[in-house]
């Protein structure tokens, strides 16, 4: 029986009028957009009872990303009708011209998700007998693909040897089109191209990993053919890795004793450790950055900040050696805080075992970056600020008496700016007389909340072009927000020059403290 738009389907008391035939004709089952008598637009699958049984076996037990959900089942004398969820808003039937416009990374991601959908269906022993293009819908905004029809699904324990290949080949074709920016030439021609290196040379398929994928999908036979969707996933994953361009760091730092008559030495310290690797095409960049501003007796403050920076970089390196980058990327904020806790403990141990030259303490602001995740730890009044798209966002909350008094309502922020004593009195620091509690090591401060969804439990999502500035109070105490922005504009290209300019500003203004700045640009 053939169905056309305008026809009416009736099962018992339910009835629909077909608005559009989406798939059908050569399939066992049909997919329609239809209108219920109540006026509501719904999507329908319709086919034989045998077909419907197979659909139910495969999809009714669970939900799959990229496949409609069955919402209601109607059994007629000859046929079964499923009302299924509509395709996501914005998605349209896949058109070649639209698909070619999808950026490679998004396209590979979409194909990975489609592949895992196929894998799940195969796991349920559902074989699609080939995925047709008109069964796929595309959301052009993010490249997502949706399988809108299961027109030929068959459940079988023993699929034909080509069954997996039939379903997977469309992935290879779509991958080809995105990278070559042209329509797939057909299996025979593709096989011919892949068999001859000299022919392949002139074709647009030379992207690393792509010829391997095409060879896996072009035919069900031979050594290179993909046996199942996990092979296909691996091939796509390799292409995804090749496409990745991780964020790297350009770092500059400067620190000076300054020119104040009563400052005889520099009690500030800063440090960073950057590790880049490419292993199995996987590119990882990992960095740790910190500043510490020593407090206390002349030698003791200097020693405390030095011990802090040394201990912090060492413990970060230990974490890297033990846990690896992938783990750190997942837990960047926790690592940043754990490092500060360890630093605090180390200072307290020094104070206890060598009490005579460890009377001071230090502020500590540290930053862990791994992949695109960033976490910070912060104790004291040093600062970490982010310059993103010209805006300055302070990531740390100063632990000063001024901020306590503001919170208590005893000072207004404007008064606090003039109140030198409460500005300079810090309410938390890493002390050599007792280790800091974990709870008192801060992460992102209240000031960072303006970042909104970029900030989550997993830390800050870093963007290319982000500029992070870590400073001791001797530096940021001598310059306001506008001043920092102006220096950033004039030293955009060189973090080293920017850090030097920030420190020089404190020197020029004859600041009363040591000045330190560490600048990291995400490239």
């Amino acid at each position: 029986m053939s169905w056309k738009a305008g026809a009416r389907i009736e099962i018992g008391s339910s009835a629909w009028q077909i608005e559009e035939v989406l798939c059908g004709k050569d399939n066992e089952a049909w997919t329609f957009r239809a209108r219920r008598d109540s006026g509501e637009i719904v999507h329908l699958w319709m086919g034989s009872h045998a077909w419907a049984r197979d659909v139910q076996t495969v999809v009714q037990t669970s939900e799959f990303f990229g496949l409609p959900r069955v919402q209601a089942t109607f059994e007629g004398p000859d046929e079964t009708v499923f009302e299924v969820t509509a395709p996501p808003e914005g998605a349209t039937p896949l058109r070649d011209s639209e698909w070619l416009k999808i950026p490679r990374q998004k396209a590979v991601h979409a194909l990975q998700r489609l592949t895992s959908l196929l894998g799940l269906l195969h796991e349920e022993r559902g074989w699609l007998q080939g995925v047709k293009r008109r069964e796929l819908w595309l959301d052009p905004r993010d490249g997502s693909l949706f399988l809108m029809s299961l027109g030929r699904i068959q459940v079988t324990r023993k699929p034909a040897i080509e069954a997996a290949w039939r379903d997977m080949r469309v992935v290879g074709e779509l991958a080809y089109e995105v990278f070559a920016q042209e329509v797939y030439p057909g299996g025979h021609q593709m096989a011919a191209i892949l068999q001859d290196k000299s022919v392949m040379e002139g074709t647009p398929i030379l992207f690393p990993g792509l010829p391997q994928l095409l060879a896996g999908c072009v035919s069900p036979y031979g050594d290179l053919a993909y046996v199942d969707t996990s092979d296909l996933s691996e091939g796509l994953e390799q292409i995804r890795i090749e496409l990745e361009r991780p964020i790297t760091f350009v770092v500059g730092s400067a620190s000076t004793v300054g020119n104040y008559l009563f400052r005889k030495n520099n009690q500030d310290s800063c440090g960073h450790l950057v590790a880049n690797s490419i292993c199995g095409s996987r590119k990882v960049s990992l960095g740790f950055f910190c500043v510490a501003d020593g407090i206390g007796g002349i030698q003791d403050g200097e020693r405390a900040s030095r011990v802090a920076v040394e201990t912090a970089t060492q413990s970060f390196a230990r974490a890297w050696a033990h846990y690896g980058a992938e783990y750190i990327e997942k837990w960047a904020p926790e690592l940043a805080r754990a490092v500060a806790k360890v630093v605090g403990q180390r200072l307290a141990v020094e104070g206890e075992l060598r009490p005579n030259n460890n009377r001071g303490g230090t502020t500590f602001s540290g930053m862990v970056v791994c992949g695109d995740r960033l976490g910070i730890s912060h104790v004291g009044d040093s600062r970490i600020v982010l310059i993103r798209r010209g805006e300055l966002i302070q990531l740390t909350h100063d632990h000063t008496l001024a901020n306590i008094l503001i919170e208590l309502g005893e000072l207004t922020p404007a008064e606090a700016l003039k109140n030198d004593v409460s500005q300079r009195t810090i309410s938390r620091f890493l002390s050599t007389s007792a280790e800091v509690e974990y709870d008192r090591v801060d992460g992102f401060g209240i000031e960072a909340q303006v970042l909104g969804s970029a900030l989550s439990e997993r830390g800050l999502k870093v963007e290319r072009g982000d500029l992070f500035i870590l400073t001791s109070d001797g530096t940021h105490g001598e310059i306001d927000e506008e001043g920092i922005k102006a220096l950033v504009l004039s030293h955009r290209e060189s973090p080293q020059a920017l850090s030097e300019a920030l420190v020089q500003n404190a020197v020029d203004r004859m600041g009363r403290d040591n000045a330190t700045a560490l600048v990291v640009r995400m490239d």
């Binding site: 926790e334 754990a338 075992l353 632990h399």
Partner: protein
């Protein structure tokens, strides 16, 4: 959530953490203070009939109820110690404000006299500085509470040091050796202290805010002719006996309260069960009043 990073790995040396030290209190709570704030409320349980509440300051000695988990500005208005909460006759509760410079309120009524005990009833709002706590009395008879504490102490028939929390022994203890000196402290990295022996009772497993003020080799205890002595050893962290700081060899009496940093311990001696189970009322040394100090100096200047 437990930390996904093992601090031992980050440190490069291993801390011996006895999990029992951070375990739950084994004596039931008599009352509680709850601070309903945005997010998770802060609940502080009172396990003893006579407790000092506030912050820890080394000069003023340990308190029973350590105020923790507050914001900086809230803590800023809490004194060390701030107030004393006690169960008068086994039935009625009282509060005495201890600090002339920071404030205590019951139901928004400022308590002005630091020598006065004010009645504190179930359901009252007790405000310490800027933090309002709901005071709740638990449904447990004082006698029943006393029995539980006794059971805990009588389980050990040797002289021992019991960890105290919130005004009562809470379970963990260390049996003292009559024939060898016992060092109480925390694990330290051997590489930084070559030749020094790790402590016999390792308190690294205490909660963060408690272990903070425990020295690595904090104090030594030993027995001589059936008398017990304690010697403070830490160059930084202080030792107190009955809340008064001690700096040299000090004899210990059964039932004494030993303070190591911010943590109190009960010296349990089976020879005197009554001293062990009836808690002695410990009076703090005179309240430190900075205004008095200021006046004294002024007088001294004037006479000069």
């Amino acid at each position: 959530m437990t930390n996904p990073f093992d601090l031992d790995v980050l440190r490069g040396w291993t801390e011996k953490q006895d999990l029992e030290l951070a375990g739950p209190h084994r004596v039931p709570a008599l009352a509680s203070l709850t601070y309903a704030r945005t997010g998770e409320p802060l609940k502080i349980t009172i396990h003893g009939p006579d407790v000092y509440v506030g912050r820890f300051h080394p000069q003023h000695g340990p308190v029973d109820l350590l105020m923790e988990g507050l914001e900086d500005h809230e803590l800023y208005k809490v004194s060390a110690p701030h107030a004393r909460i006690s169960l008068g006759d086994g039935k009625d509760w009282f509060v005495r404000p201890l600090s002339p410079s920071s404030f205590t309120y019951i139901n928004d009524q400022l308590l002005t006299d630091t020598r006065e005990r004010y009645p504190l009833a179930d359901g009252d709002v007790l405000r310490l500085g800027v933090v309002p706590f709901d005071f709740k009395v638990n449904d447990i008879a004082f006698e029943a509470w006393r029995e539980r504490q006794k059971d805990l102490l009588l389980a050990v028939e040797e002289p021992s040091l019991y960890l105290m929390r919130a005004g009562a022994v809470c379970g963990p203890h260390h049996v003292l050796n009559r024939n060898a000196r016992v060092v109480v402290g925390r694990t330290f990295p051997d590489a930084l202290a070559t030749g020094q022996r790790q402590p016999n009772w390792d308190l690294s497993g205490l909660r963060d805010e408690e272990r903070k003020h425990i020295g690595l080799r904090h104090a030594e205890l030993w027995c001589e002719d059936d008398d017990w002595y304690i010697l403070p050893m830490s160059p930084r962290q202080r030792t107190y006996v009955n809340r008064i700081e001690v700096t040299g060899v000090t004899p210990l009496m059964p039932g004494d309260e030993v303070g190591l940093g911010a943590v109190l311990f009960h010296f349990h001696h089976p020879s005197n069960i009554r001293a062990s189970t009836n808690r002695r009322t410990v009076e703090l040394p005179a309240i430190l009043n900075w205004r008095e100090e200021h006046a004294r100096r002024k007088r001294a200047q004037e006479t000069r």
